[in-house]
Symmetry: C2
Subunit: 332 residues, 2 copies
Amino acid sequence: MTQASLDIVAMGDAIVDVIADCDEDFIRAHNLPKGSMQLLTPSEADELYAAMGMAREMSGGSAANSMAGVAAMGGRAAFIGQIAEDQLGMIFEHDMHALGVSFDTPPLPKGDGSGPPTGRCLILVTPDGQRTMNTCPGASHELEATALDRDLIASGSILFLEGYLFGPEKPRAAMMEAIKVAHAANRRVAFTLSESVCIAGRKESFSEMIESGGVDLLFCNEDEAFQLTGRTDLKHALTDLSIKVATVVVTSGPEGAAAIENGERIAIPAAPVNEVVDTTGAGDLFAAGFLTARCKGATLERCLWTGAIAAAEIIQHYGARPVTDLKSLVKL
Amino acid sequence: MTQASLDIVAMGDAIVDVIADCDEDFIRAHNLPKGSMQLLTPSEADELYAAMGMAREMSGGSAANSMAGVAAMGGRAAFIGQIAEDQLGMIFEHDMHALGVSFDTPPLPKGDGSGPPTGRCLILVTPDGQRTMNTCPGASHELEATALDRDLIASGSILFLEGYLFGPEKPRAAMMEAIKVAHAANRRVAFTLSESVCIAGRKESFSEMIESGGVDLLFCNEDEAFQLTGRTDLKHALTDLSIKVATVVVTSGPEGAAAIENGERIAIPAAPVNEVVDTTGAGDLFAAGFLTARCKGATLERCLWTGAIAAAEIIQHYGARPVTDLKSLVKL
């Protein structure tokens, strides 16, 4: 086993967030899954966008946000994801590079304009700071195993996989392949259980992957842990998950986070925040903090705290990429 | 003269702002005109963009920002400007409509991809809140007189023209044509003297336009007033400008603003701000406040105050479009 030259190599959605404020009535009138994520067809996305208020655009994507966080905390990160050769794709690529994250997945060619464009996520933020995500994945879900850079994956201490990409067939196959490459190189595999993994049809194949030892570190929130295990209390859910996964981390929003590893259980409260502006990216940045601390050899408790601090930073401003000096905040 | 069905019809750059923080060293190293605007070729823009940090994107354009402000304060606004049929163009169009601003200028077709894309403005914000703008105008400078909706122009109480568009030949010709249409319909013409008007070659044609009575209301900042008149004190500069322009308004940043109209001179201080985050759009929103108040029949002093309040709102957050409830702030 050679020394890893990178800390984290992530695979996830390569999308640009389109963020607008709205009131509770808007969420109800458009039947949106408040606090959660839904996938939209291009025409549904166009319709919702037309109804939305003035927006700001920022690069997004769950695992990509995490890598932005890892880089901001001084970790060495790379990202694998599918953009198209268009303006939003160039924005996504620029922002990854500007943050110091390696990102070289070749864009889908524009061709005659009939191919899928770079994905967008229409994010509605209600006055309580909750975000409701409406994703039009576009090129993002066209990621194929052939686009994988195997040497890159083998060079990362941890391969980090985003659950949102576990739904569509092509990127799921690419992820399964990436897991093989990572494990063959003796690397660890972390998986963040985005809510969409829990729906019927995906849950089963995800459970199979866990059963087969595909995942070494699992991030999820309480709801996801309950849905996946069928339990209704956190303690039992954690125990169930820890049978097949070495390290399980569960976030509980303002209630804090808990982890179980080698029989050790630790729970911490959330880091203090002045005002919740926009919860987009809270889970992504929690994972970023945890993973960065882990790669620096921190204790399980310190990993949880680092995640909590990074999550607290992100929910105090708009957008899911850090704006303050995270590195000095987390003091790793 | 028929009743105006709109308050303001504006002509200006249709561009998307790409906003990133930077330090003073970055400004110096890239030889950027701090606090001012420069035009970049596409390759220069690509080079600067590659060097910039992670950015957020928001619809921009000086007069377009003003119309966003007018609409936010309850004014009836329309905008004329040239986008291309691409992703940034769709973002610009969406945001205008989302704000309730009429915007129907047909986009330039994408065609085979060789035409100019929608314009971008790379905005670097230094820790002092100052913005330095680097514009790659793209389609924006392709606005032609043939794209003008004459009925629309005739329907607005005030035609508002952005100086940045007075440089390039095609949009300048379109502006001259628009002035004729507005004056034929007995409407007033307001002009905001963006710094680029003051450079050699443009100053002369601008002076000619003023001499011929083309402008009824002029917005400028102190520097612009000095450059245009050759004066070095505000009082004389105002007097000189007021000979040919019925209403002259000069903004002086944190020093406040002054106006001269029908021999009446009024000066006001700036509205108080807690923290200057990003000065982008200060002048645009000042004009928006002034114009909206004017269309509601406010006194000259109240027009200045309304501008000052709108400008104070915009410099306390990122981006040049209002985010708080301007209408209730200005209480027109």
